[in-house]
Symmetry: D4
Subunit: 252 residues, 8 copies
């Protein structure tokens, strides 16, 4: 909010009071109808462009949000879609692409989610179990969407730690590690004890009984005795990628 | 409860009805007063002799319980003692021994708790952090009390897994592993993925914030993706040793 | 990880540096595609061969996992299958067998789950209520899969304790007891107070209201005042059998 | 609230409107000052006279409450007293009696709390562990205060069920059983499965770790699979005795 | 368990050792197959005949249980049935009756559940809201099944307390009150403050948000500041009626 | 309850005792059958007319409640309807109107829910996210039903606070603000820090993972460090509007 | 934030760009040292002047905050003080006044907290039990501090509802009711069902066992089936008074 | 673990098998006695040198840990010290420095904790309330210990957001923001919506009632709808600084 510059222009008569007030208030967002209000300047302000959170939105709301962002010339990413929502979006925007396993829809963005995945990248996603793959894919795809080179390594959980060892070199070459795990969620602790890269831990709702839909993994990650771990919400692959994007754009 | 044999003696007239009824009812326990009822035959029935749970008992109750067991000729172990309770017991039974760090009192049992501890044994106790030591000592002492050879290795948590590696051979030579950990409680999973010994996991109340006095460690251990782990109550070093005792006395 | 022996061979020139590094890293597991990474050596390392956790896996992942293990010559056990997953696996591997009540699929393993069940065995499963049967069957089947002789006794809960008494002799002849209970989960405490066998307690999600999908049974079992009880995750019949397998293979 | 009779007297001119209104509003309680408002007619209305809940009250409030009830000619019972509150009350009312172990104060009531206790009565209190004694004593004393003959049996928990058997006859002769237990709280289920008497279950805060200050015992009792069990708040010996009083005064 | 009498017969040679042992063990229950073990003597022992808990049982198990009890000449009550289970039972036993709103099935018992219900009885059920009706009906029907005269008053919650007042006389004439409430569960407290009858409180899972499927109502009832309230599990109308049956059969 | 006036009429012989008693008891409510008891005088007594809570009611109960209120000449509002319940009501009362997105049914009330909504009013509803719209609409519609002028502003959450600024003037012109938010629920704190209007905060069940169906938003709102915020149940748009109605009718 | 006006002055050259920027940023608060940053304009902005939250602040921080506000000429209120903090403040500011029972300190404000309290007022505080008095006093004092006439009625809980009736007229004359209750927290529901005034419900941490330090009262209040209740944090008498202040200043 | 290089040296005969094995196992850590095992190479491996977690350690253990690290030539930082532990360490190492407000002890490290603090730096700590200062200081000091330039801004919570605005420029100049907040924990969401820097959120245990010792702040931060926020354990200022250290050392 370059308030100094704007005030300067007002003082110099180059901007009227009315226009200044309007700019301060209305510029950075657009009401699209159906209760949707797009924040088109979010990318400038926060470094992370607006992404549509699909869960719980009606079909009409999804259409308005996607169309609104497309109208601004942005590429579009929608997350946490149910299969029905995904199909509805595809019917509305046939040029877009649905990724059902990851619950994503993209328009005007060219993301590759099909295996085999590269096992290295600026942002390297490590997934503890094969059942954690949907969340890992959400992180992997979102990181790409944000312009990072991304890698994905699956099924390297602590019950067989030797499966992790061949990937330590790729960990060293990454800039940030996104470690995805359900059940007891021990993998981020172990990884953070072996490398000097920041670890963004993503608990998943995989498991049953006292896994409590990811709460146990979350608490374990937060209680980690290995320093250099920070945590996002359960199943929040998107949030981990957004954090990774901010980290990788740090100036030295 | 050899009911067959007892009925046989009744049928043969070698035991009167009154005596049989009394034996069936009153023999195996003794009321000691102050609401304490000792179960002297528990060792025969369950393989684990009665141990006094100290927490919350009044001084008078502790005295009755210790005296009652000593009168039966048993050696005595009291657990979960506060410092005040420990001192009170020592004043009452000066020939007994208090172990404040582990919250234990023993009478007529010769246990060694002072470091350095042997790093191998039938029952090998592995402790994730130095702060977990009180619980690890409770397990280590109780295992000795139950007649097992016991070992104790401290401060080998997952933040520096290489500290665990030199002890893998001792793990292989043990019959059962008692793995004690607080915080995220990941050590039992990792150990169970590296050895073929049964792991009895003991969560501890070490940590702060979302460690929730051991609940997070407990949930992590129960959610473990490594098979061959079973769990006891938070801080229950005694219970782990009792389970170890039952395991080690399994007939081949 | 016989690192000593491997280093010896490197020192003697019998193993090249490259081969040693590869062996250390790649030998014990195989990437099967679709994010599945099989741990074929787990049986050697931990005494418990790899079993596939079905819950949450896609059909493609299940196929890769089963095929991958079968290719290694192993018999296969898949647990926690939904009815749909079970049918899909049967369509893919018609020579395998689905056990819908227990949520299991087996290939190349000859397990018997149909009643009447033997009421004794090395590993004796006691089930508190008839509604707990699916979990009890998972434990019973997995114990067989791991090579134990197994027995199963159903509907002997604490509301009618006399139903338990005829089975105490079989408890004495077993090596380990797996006690399955929902609701208040009191059966393991009672059993552990009557026998000298180790009790592996399995809480189940049977019940309603404050049974909280098994949490109450779990907490009751962990709080047990009877020593010699250790607990696994809610509904984790598999985990109890894996622990039983490790116990029964203890050397005297 | 004999509103019919009162209206009759108003209609007949035997009671003025003002007096009727006053009677309807002010009669049954007395403001004693310090924010204390005594409900002297509660005994008539509910069958259970007003008892003072001591916890959290200031010394001045306790004095007003005790004096107020004594002024109405009632005998007084105060529950849940801290040691300091008990001493303060004794200094104020030297003719009263403090029972520190049970946290009670009585004035004008002749209760016996010292062992040995009778092991039978209309209301029979069964206590699972010796550490549960304070709560059991609160129930035992309150039942006496309410005019019931009461008995108390201690330390008969499920880890040694045979200790319970000699008392089953006394259970049959009681009118109601108050079963007090901490830890896993299994005793009420077992007792309710053995007798035809109503069981009022009192969970206690005895235990540690996942006993969660009595929550586990409470949940277990509520989840009981044995019918004929109803539960009161944790450590609420008073409430169990109040329920017992109402039960014992049921007309046939 | 008239052990004295049985021993007497053994001592007199009127009963052989083998027969005595068999009687002690096998008499009071019958294995019906499919893991179902019926406790036919429960009525004698506990005053409450065995009722089948339907939830989670397979169709085969339900059939065995119902047939087994019918074979013993008992009338049958099955609770907590899903619609599908109810239809299945009706197909198997067309002479039985399904009560879908209450989730019940009866065979050989003549219960009336259709409105209008009598508004008085030995056991009077008070229901706070119209949405609590299914649980209230379960209590009302079970009380009839146990031989009590029962009444049912619906929709008298604390948001309009005056609706309760016309029923206070019926409360005074009842022997026990079963008070059913969801949401904040305040009705039992209010009722217990107005009458001298014992109140059995049944929380229901009615509500949304922080009603937490009945947990809030349960906690409120347990925290009640009105004495003479005891509580059963959420939605446990059956348990309340079982408790009522035990209370009403108390001898004066 | 103008008891004084009523007594006066009894004293003056203008009202018989019988009529007085009946009036005191039966007047203000009507039993409609199916366990539904309508409180027609609630509007007089509490300022908020009776609204039907639809969740969990059977079709027959809904019909009785709507018909009963309509028979009293009242306009009708039913909340928390499932789609099926809504359709059933519409079939029964074709002149009524169903609002599926908000889960409402109205009869004899003319509410406007279709966008664009006015962005100011006595009661101004602010909604943090587009997914919170159903709850915001429930509050917006109920406020209209209660006779308030209402406004609705959507999608102004804290991730882009500048979207809120253009609406601060409308906040100043409102009499009460209803702030609806899910996820972390921070919007009410921020709004209460910017205006001098009372804020009624409504947490919603929007979100996933640790949003815990609205619990996190609820706790955040209750913990708010900004004074002048009070909170209603999760998703309780109706309750917020009822509170707003009471506030707006405060006399100066 | 009259941004329009400020911009006008900039456009007219009556305010320099630098001054405008500074005013926008620095005016409304003052850093007092020790990490304390006072918000002197809060009263203007939100209608509620800044009150110091005492809990957890160091003595130095309290001194800075009180001195800073006094330097601005404001009267001062500090809440949630421990006894030690209260004494420290009194030593520093002998002209101030400490109210230990309510945990308050005031400087330059003349509040009366000693009984007897007036039983009517714009803001009428109703307290369910005598033990809830500290929280009721916090609300009562804060309401006075905010310039409202306040009343306080104590010990009118639902176990003896008739104690509430004489105060219904005062309820009708109040503008807002603050209802304080611990344990099951039922009083706000009952009051809201009897009057047409808005009810601000304050749960207290009074109680034991499942009262859970006020959580049960909180949940009960939020689940209230009586409309017109909104809730603040546990023990938050201050917050209720702040809400009352905002309500009472609503323009008609 | 440069296993390749080490194997090379073994293959070339430059390293004996025994030495290689010893190096692989024993080099990187040292047993110091009292159960303490120091991980001196942690800095090399993870980029974060070993810091001593003081909570729960005995005086003897603290001495061993500090002495052991000092013997390796490292500067020492001990966290989460109680006042007693701090004094004990100071008595043992008079050349060290205790920071009681932050619960820290340092030896051989020159940290400045006294105000006024610089309000900018690579790692900028923002603290919502003055009561959050101890945790903010822990983060601020640890960041310095790890070699970062650090700043600290206190008391800029969301109840007065304008206090935050003057610091937005410093936010833009920082490389990472550590945002510390208790109560509802909304500050990180708001900050992340205003800047493009990664936000490490630290919930604190400040608050009362439903703040639940920091759990509410934690859940709010994890549920944040603003992307670019990751969270550490409650009160874990150390962990946030460790994450900051890893981020700031990212190579461009």
């Amino acid at each position: 909010m370059d308030i100094h510059d704007l005030l300067q222009r007002v003082a110099q008569g180059r901007l009227s009071v009315e226009d200044a007030a309007r700019e301060l208030r209305f510029a950075p967002f657009t009401a699209s109808g159906e209760g949707v209000c797009l924040d088109g300047h979010r990318g400038l302000r926060t470094g992370v462009p607006e992404v549509v959170f699909g869960s719980g939105k009606s079909e009409a709301q999804l259409e308005r949000a996607v169309q609104g962002l497309a109208d601004q010339g942005a590429s579009v990413l929608v997350t946490k879609l149910s299969p029905g929502q995904g199909e509805a979006l595809h019917a509305l925007f046939p040029e877009g692409k649905v990724h059902p396993q990851a619950g994503l829809f993209t328009l005007g963005a060219d993301l590759s989610l099909t295996p085999p995945w590269p096992e290295q990248g600026e942002a390297l996603v490590l997934s503890a179990g094969a059942s954690d793959l949907p969340v890992a894919l959400e992180a992997y795809a979102t990181a790409q969407y944000f312009g990072l080179t991304a890698g994905l390594v699956s099924d390297v959980g602590v019950a067989g730690l030797h499966r992790l060892l061949p990937h330590l070199q790729a960990c060293d070459q990454a800039r940030v590690l996104i470690v995805v795990a359900g059940m007891e969620g021990a993998l981020p602790s172990v990884v953070a004890g072996l490398t000097d890269k920041p670890v963004i831990a993503v608990p998943t709702s995989v498991g049953y009984g006292v896994s409590f839909q990811g709460v146990t993994a979350l608490l374990g990650m937060l209680s980690s005795c290995a320093p250099g771990v920070a945590v996002v919400n359960i199943d929040n692959g998107f949030g981990a990628a957004a954090m990774a994007r901010k980290l990788c754009h740090l100036k030295p």
